[in-house]
Symmetry: D2
């Protein structure tokens, strides 16, 4: 870390800072500048205590970390890309997967029909929420266990592996029993307690970026899971909260590129939640592919206009199919190929 | 809700929207405008399904809610301010309380000494983290149960009630056994599963605003707790995430004013986390008081420069005392009086 | 517009609002709801005074516009895409153009060499700043008239049309005399006085989005120019200001897609300013193309490490050439073809 | 500046960076760390070229400035607070001034009546827009020269000095002829060309913070004016653009406190534009005072519900008077006293 001292700090006060640096386990190197003095603290920032506490000394102006704080997920130390296996799907390699399905599991019929629909169009994994985090306690919050049972049935009917969100530690066991991929939603993206419990299942995890998480916070959330012994993490960019109101969130394609560059983990993009409106699904999906994404997650509903949640951003299976056909050339141009669903048609 | 149709929508398409409105349980009133047609959907938005799903219809341009989504906490339906009782402290009335203590419980000595220090200066509640949510898995994450035991001892020594954060459902029982107030941190502010479990204890809850939560999301998080049968909620503004980097977060005093106006709950302000630097504690505390806050939460540490977390924003008990003396006239001008700690000196 | 009244508004107060609506030239339609009353004001919002003033009435809770405020640039009223002609370049059609050159014109040699370099690699327009808006008054602010003269010489040497920024009304004439495209930078994007003066030249305008402008504000800035009688506007997305610090700005590809959908104007993307770092140029350029951009603007410098401004985001002509070769397949997949510079090699 | 190199940078590459540092006029001090190597560049960052250009070298990871970039306005080098004199008003000392008046000058009657009204209630300066920057070209943009003439008349009637916005360089002369304080609005806050032209008048300048300007950018904009030889700058905080939609902007009281701490300039707060709604004027004004503001600017209109711009945030003179009476005790508690208008009543 670099510790910047206030102008006109006396030699005695510089010595106080140097002692503080030593006490926290680093080696101080002081550079006497023309205008300012800085103390460089040599030591591994991920194994020593933070030097931020020195900011409470009156002569310290700034403490600036210089080192990246993640290790296990970093591409630098592990250059090879992680491929996460879910059933027959290998995510993070040269095959591009599309996860599709309803925002919420609302009924057996709605879910199975949508699952059959998305499989016929080319999806290779099924998404669907049994437990829904809702901003208002008066909104529909999912069918819970019944929803999980319906998802299992939809898998039986279609062969598609299931991606579904888990909201609480005490639900992890039953969600893990039903699902193939455990999803951590944006609101729980910095809920480290939950991250560690889901990590312990050893199952593939789809980790959404928090509503306003920095790329560093997102990668460190993944580091939590990998550090708990579970390397099967897929990152999911779903837009960030900004001042712009034309979209529900702002899709951050730079974050996709940085996540691919800095980490070795697969990156999925969720254009449905990013935009909050379905008329942007095609351009945002293409942009995600072009920025380096390994897959997409798209909300599809038999009858979006009657959906119990997020209807505005869901499309019918037919529209979903046309989206896949539109984006397929971009997948190829990006050097990947669009997966074909096990028994379904695929986009090819 | 108001449903705005795209220009040149045909009569047949307007009828489709009207049927959708009826199907979702509302009564449609169509206004044929010069440029646009809008359909007003009459019905209680908090008891009917959302009409947002209609956005998936091709002729619908916007769906705009018109009604506030919270009820139980609203000042309009419950004009009287809620007073939350914690030990002898009554928060939300005409006495202004200051919660103080270390970011993290690091040791028995550090915690008890700090507790004695803040009590002597005038704090009436003690804060201290036994379970710490940390962005990096390599940072100090608190002493856990040992930390809770130390807090209990600090209460025994000082008589100050304990405010401490709970991070996971499965910890709620033991934290509830030790604490007087359960704190929900900013990262868990939209973790509705945890909100309902802490609500079930019936204990006072200090609910921080999420890192980038809107005022509406914050109030709805409180609504979750009250709807679960626990009216003892204190809201806590702790700064929001913005583009500005001069402070760690941006203290949102407008949110304090709106929360007081819209809800009947007490509002506490945490200037330590808002600023992330201790040189702004006095002006931000004064601004919080002036905007209508019912109390403050300030981080205090025996030796901030050696703190294991958030050292930059902690002050010594002496500095804390000088802050109280500086802000006390503003408390009086705001028509409140600064609480005096049970056996301690108080600012008066 | 829709005027939402506060709960329990009396009939007399509703009548007050209705009279206010009439006074402002609209026709009021009142809908008596279960919980709330709303007044729909029928009338063309772009030709009548705004009803926002009614918010000052005590019984009015919200005033919500329903109509898009731009007209002349809108794709709805003018479905055909605008093609802006600059020399032999036709921007906005099926040829994809790349504008390249240094952030600042620093010397004759640097500019001409860079111009020759980017032309050889395939750029079809030359950018370069003679007047630079700098956050600090102590930074290099461009060579001014000398810079314009150098740009003219660079055009003579290469045949590339010149894109350069104009900062002040009183410079418009001399910049217009030298340049082929007048650029309005992000800091002046809402400087309507300057917009109207540049519009009056009738020349092609490259209009950057403001640092934190909404899509609507950006489109309305273009509407200012077109309303002044100049239809030759190219929009330029260059990233928006968000909380994320991994990039200098956050490239908003949704804005590109919306601008293409809502307006008929060409959209250029500037990945150099969006990222503020050159290691993201390739993925961001690809994403921009995929989202529907009509061209790119990339900063190129003979010797980036010695640049007087924005060195961090500039690349050498050789790296620029490799970027063009990387992105070319995406241009083709998007149904366009990469322009070939008049006498230069082009990417093909 | 501190230059952080990528891990595993070779000695040869470190030497390349050191040469780059020397070439830009700084003295390099290299610290060989356990994990990373950093090069500290010793030299005055405000007089040398920026080292940011070194970021274009492949082995450089980050370049971090350590020095504050402003000098002339800094409290450190000029500890005494600047007092700006406008007529008999001395702003920035121990008297707290309130600027009030309509958003726009709409007519002689409206302006003079409002001016008489605000003077009677205690305002000591009159605001009013003759040239209005409007997001839409279809909105009312002010009366221009006629508006200036009306303001002059209002001053003749009331004795109140005039604060009015100037939007373009070519208007500076005529606005300066009419006004006592030239206002730079939020949209032009980074329009350095305009800043220098208004600075040249030598008149007092009210410099609003940009829509999404950092505190540093705001202070540097003031540095531009002072560097041009005009020390009479008043900073004006008017809320920043954030994701929150409950208010039009988010009032940043931390920025007020930092501006007072870092600079010696007076700070005015504009709660009207910050909130965009008049029901928050009292708490936001109190918070501004408590955070250290030297004055307020409040929009007042004879008939807000008929205002041609920003009606939602304007109040009547009577309400304005009640606001002054509410905030006066906070002004006193902050150690200042509320100014009394020359011939008017004042709040006392």
């Amino acid at each position: 870390m670099i510790i910047v001292l206030k102008p006109h700090t006396s030699k005695e006060d510089v010595a106080v800072v140097e002692r503080g640096v030593v006490d926290l386990g680093y080696e101080p190197h002081t550079i006497w500048g023309e205008v300012l003095t800085v103390v460089a603290a040599v030591g591994d920032e991920t194994t020593h205590a933070s030097l931020q506490a020195l900011l409470s000394l009156p002569m310290v102006d700034k403490v600036m970390p210089v080192q990246r704080p993640y290790r296990l997920i970093s591409r630098e130390t592990h250059p090879e890309s992680t491929v996460v296996e879910v059933g027959d799907c290998r995510i993070g390699g040269d095959v591009f997967h599309v996860i599709a399905g309803p925002c919420s599991v609302e009924s057996r019929e709605q879910t199975v029909n949508t699952a059959l629909g998305v499989k016929a169009q080319g999806a290779t994994l099924l998404r669907g929420g049994a437990f829904k985090p809702r901003t208002s306690p008066y909104d529909f919050r999912g069918l819970g266990q019944e929803g999980l049972d319906i998802l299992v049935e939809a898998r039986r009917e279609t062969g598609l592996p299931i991606v579904t969100e888990v909201l609480k530690e005490t639900d992890v066991d039953r969600v893990a029993a039903a699902a193939d991929v455990l999803q951590i939603g944006a609101r729980n993206a910095l809920n480290y307690a939950l991250l560690e419990v889901v990590a312990a299942t050893g199952m593939p995890i789809l980790l959404k970026r928090g509503l306003a998480a920095t790329v560093e916070e997102w990668l460190l959330a993944a580091e939590y899971i990998v550090k708990s012994g579970n390397p099967n993490v897929m990152l999911c960019e779903r837009g960030i909260r900004t001042y712009e109101t034309a979209t529900r969130n702002t899709l951050d394609v730079s974050a996709v590129a940085i996540a691919k560059q800095e980490s070795r983990l697969p990156v999925i993009v969720d254009p449905s939640h990013a935009a909050g409106r379905c008329d942007l699904l095609i351009p945002l999906s293409k942009a995600a592919i072009a920025a380096g994404a390994d897959g997409l997650m798209i909300e599809v509903h038999e009858h979006p206009e009657a959906a119990l949640s997020d209807g505005a951003q869901q499309v019918t299976p037919e529209v979903f199919g046309s989206i896949l056909r539109e984006i397929e050339p971009f997948v190829r141009t990006a050097g990947k190929r669009l997966a074909v669903s096990p028994g379904g048609g695929g986009a090819a």
